[in-house]
Symmetry: D2
Subunit: 352 residues, 4 copies
């Protein structure tokens, strides 16, 4: 932690501040610059809050953090070794991580009825997906919009799982539903709007199911990793990060701006696996294939893609869903690049 | 709702779409432009989802909403009459709204101990505040930072209320705490990070206490009003909107960018009362007074200002808190403008 | 300048870097933290580029600037004394600055014809304005939109000046027009889109007319001050900063987001006078009055407000222009607050 | 163009507006909705300004554009056929466009000396680049930073061209330098900060050299295409669009956010070729390779990559430059994917 003093800070105040830091068990090394005095705080500073330090004195101009604010999520925490999240599914254990083939998550935005979800599951499995996504509880901007079929949809997801053996990924919006969700889901999803719902993060952190945490619409990389840190700190080491587009100044053509640079950035900061969701990331099915290709080439560990048997009749998010036919073609295109870069699953893997 | 067809849309598809709209009970008026065909949908369109409509055909280029997506929050819903939220406090009923004097909410970010909160309450009451704010449950970016004293802090807020008669405003982060909070709070606060925690919105909407809903960090005006709509639709008509700064590209000097233009914008859209929080809005106590003055001059119905008896020792958000002395001076400065524009409370009101 | 080394940086590399800094004439003070080594660079660092330093070694994690990047624009440069820009007009010298009454700039977006501009000048002068704004050269998003009447409009501005004695503010878009503009304008305006047109900045910096520099649509405070620094460094000390709204994620109701917090932020950083333009800042005339009031209460030194005798027929930016009648009323409302806070011009000042 | 009237608009006003549109030669089709009246304007509306229309009456709530604001840049303008920009170089004509192999532009941020630029040109040519980039005139945030070697650097670029036959791409900042630049450059670059320097756009549009126009830091897709439209409208049909990262809320790890979704979005809107610059797009050389791979997989027509023989000594933008060795490796990695998707140049092409 670096503490920058204002120009003209009085000497007694500088001494007082130095003593204050010492009383906290820190070693404040003072640097006298041409115009300003700066302290480098040596000691256990990771839990200190820069805002808190700033308030020690009105003469403090700025406090700059040198350490990252996250611990368990950091790559250093695992000494540079990338973690893998192994998801147990009826079709076997599927590992997600940098040293594994890319895994594909596909399915509709929301679960509508048994035929639809089972049919979609069969189609995406045939195309090569390892996981079925589908919302039982849906976060909707309007209270008058379809809110998901809730508990009954969980039963339908169970049926699709039984029919295909695919792993199930579904979103939790309310901690009160968590126990029911955990019975069916193989991965619990925390949505973008709840990325900083800290009460919920603590509660999913107390479960022993892997957690997929989507990046908030305007979450910085640090905030996103701190959200993951909440889950890790609660005892759950199986966290997957999922980029789904951020909010920027231009929403005319895409609903969000897919930030693919998180791939190299996160690789340098964290050991956690990284998934990309080009469907929410762009909001329009026409744009999904090229962004899926880009995600794969840039090094994603997993892709989440919306597929709907009849997008025109989807109860939510239709415009960003691919048809099963378009999804078939996309997985074939992805396979070409995936094999080239050595990240495509071998046929037997899925059956393992 | 306006549906814009792509250039070159085939005639049979245009007829099919028209028939589809009719089957929904809508009257699609077709306009044949120079290059494009456009439908104006007449009928009950307010609950329709533009994304849903877009999926009827790949030939639909765009769907433009003509109606606002919010109903109960709209100014039209009350035929142009602004609502007032009347908060019952030991010192009497305090009305918040466009046709009432500005009310002042002040207090620390988080409740630290009894002496501190009671002392702060006394100071801000003496300076003219009608409400005491103070967090029992704190949303913190880091799981390792102070999370608020929780239930015991609610007891301290009750003590401060008893000592001063001030109304209490405190934040709910977890629906499980709602019953305990409602026992003490006169206004329930939903924080920026939970603005789209729809489960929580429904639950506070089911209570009979006024709700203060802070704007999310990157929430559009429409999304914010739709969050209010969740509460209104759940049966609670007493909603106050609070602007607290949005996230923009420049965070070097201010933590957020206080968007004061919401004042004239919301006045034209909604009947709900509007509060401004310049403390979170700027994140630095030096900037609070001028932004408080601006808020008042621009027409705010209420101001929320952080005050801490000893900002240097605040357990959270210290740098944005005013000292009681600075707050005294600020209320005097505000009073000068407030009286000029006819929005300052008469002395007897506070004592009522 | 603070240089943060990566965890595990090898000792010889740290020594090499230290020697490199010394060879630059700097004194690198080394702090050995718990995990990281940090250098504080003492010496003449203000012109160093953090990016340049970072490239000395791949083991450098980050370079943090402690000094501000601007010099002549800084408040320290004038030892805490705020500057005033004195504009010579036929009606006398008008000072703009923190220690002077608020000055009002008003007029249409673009100069349309002699009758219109002279009439507008008379109306805004009668209402209390000291300056007439009006575009001869207009930056337009579309090449097919009206681009301003150019040189002939400069003649019309001269006529309005002669008729009223008001100071003239008009925008330069092309350095080739600068000489002609300088003959008429009392203040040269550099528009938001040219804020980082560094060639133009150098050229206006070489003139001896005051320069108004509008904040770029997504310019940080530092970038804006560095643009001013270009003009100051070229020898022109008379620079006025003008906030006109920034680009954020929500453009549905306002064209830009007026960032009024620049008022307290700039006051702490720079001695330069600050103008606010609520007309471009919001893009809608309905929102201008409350934002003008807010600007004044927050401490603006000058206000720029669009006024058009017939907004419905304005050739550009009509929707944000006030009618002369609405502008009359606004100046009366502003006067009430302006007198209260001691920033309103005395009647004789305008006539001086 | 769709004109939405406010709720409760008086019938005579609606008639008056309708007549006004007719007097403009438009056919206003009126739709009477449940709450609002809407006009669909049929006729020549592409040059109309929505803001202008809005001012016809205070009863107009909103004006929605149905046509795109750009004409010559639109895909429809060429009836769905993508254009190619053919650049004449000593090594032959290099076509850039959707139906051609990907072309690679590489080189340093700024031209430093003859040895450096010729050596870099040789290295990037050997690795497979067709174009050399290098700045003679540099836009720098600070007036005190290195501003480029100017005219003398143009001579060095000519020497590098002579030595290698590579096409030259260099930036114009001031129209006064245009003639000198055109003597050496095969493609004229307009930088992000000048994307809306409309005077400059008109002047490069009057030249007969291809123009590369970088997206402004916060330019919408529409604004970017309108900037291209300025050049096209001035008579120059050879325009290449270059994405170089946009400004968002998180600049901690990357300098900008590379918006790769422009690839599918622009493909649907415009016939113009698309280049991606992952070097400026991320600002850090570590992130460049994965973003270059992503760009190629997503369908870029050209890549611009900074390469510097000794990034640690680069006079500008060092941290984002690759070493020639890293660039060699990157082109090999790109070739693997490029061949797979059929976009990699055949060896003889470069020599053609």
């Amino acid at each position: 932690m670096i503490v920058v003093m204002k120009v003209g800070s009085p000497e007694p105040e500088i001494s007082r501040i130095s003593a204050e830091f010492q009383s906290w068990g820190l070693n404040p090394e003072k640097i006298v610059g041409k115009h300003k005095v700066v302290f480098g705080l040596v000691g256990e500073t990771v839990d200190l809050d820069p805002l808190q330090i700033q308030e020690i004195s009105p003469w403090i101009e700025n406090v700059l953090r040198v350490e990252q604010p996250f611990k368990r999520a950091s790559l250093e925490y695992r000494h540079g070794e990338y973690s893998e999240v192994i998801v147990s599914t009826p079709n076997g254990n599927i590992p997600i991580g940098k040293n594994h083939p890319v895994s594909i998550v596909a399915g509709p935005c929301s679960v509508e009825n048994e035929e639809m979800i089972v049919e979609t599951a069969r189609r995406v499995k045939a195309a090569g997906a390892q996981f079925l996504r589908g919302g039982a509880y849906k976060p909707r901007t309007s209270p008058y919009a379809f809110q998901g079929h809730g508990e009954s949809a969980l039963g339908l997801l169970a049926a699709a799982k039984e029919a295909t053996g695919l792993g199930i990924i579904t979103e939790v919006m309310d901690a009160a539903d968590l126990d029911k969700i955990v019975e069916v889901a193989d991965v619990i999803q925390v949505g973008a709007r709840n990325m900083q719902n800290f009460s919920l993060l603590k509660k999913v952190g107390a479960k022993d199911k892997p957690v997929l945490i989507k990046r908030g619409m305007s979450a910085t990389i640090d905030e996103w990793l701190m959200a993951a840190e909440y889950i890790l700190a609660a005892g759950n080491p199986n966290v997957i990060l999922c980029e789904r587009g951020i909010r920027t100044f231009d929403g005319k053509y895409t609903r969000n701006t897919l930030d693919l640079s998180v791939l190299p950035v996160l690789r340098a900061l964290t050991h956690l696996p990284i998934m990309i969701d080009p469907s929410h990331g762009t909001g329009k099915s026409d744009y999904v294939p090229s962004m899926a290709m880009a995600s794969l080439a840039a090094g994603a560990d997993s892709l989440m893609i919306e597929v709907h048997p009849n997008p025109a009749k989807a109860l939510s998010d239709g415009p960003q869903s691919l048809t099963p036919e378009r999804f078939d073609r996309l997985t074939q295109e992805l396979a070409v690049i995936g094999k080239t870069i050595g990240r495509w699953p071998q046929p037997q893997m899925v059956l393992a």
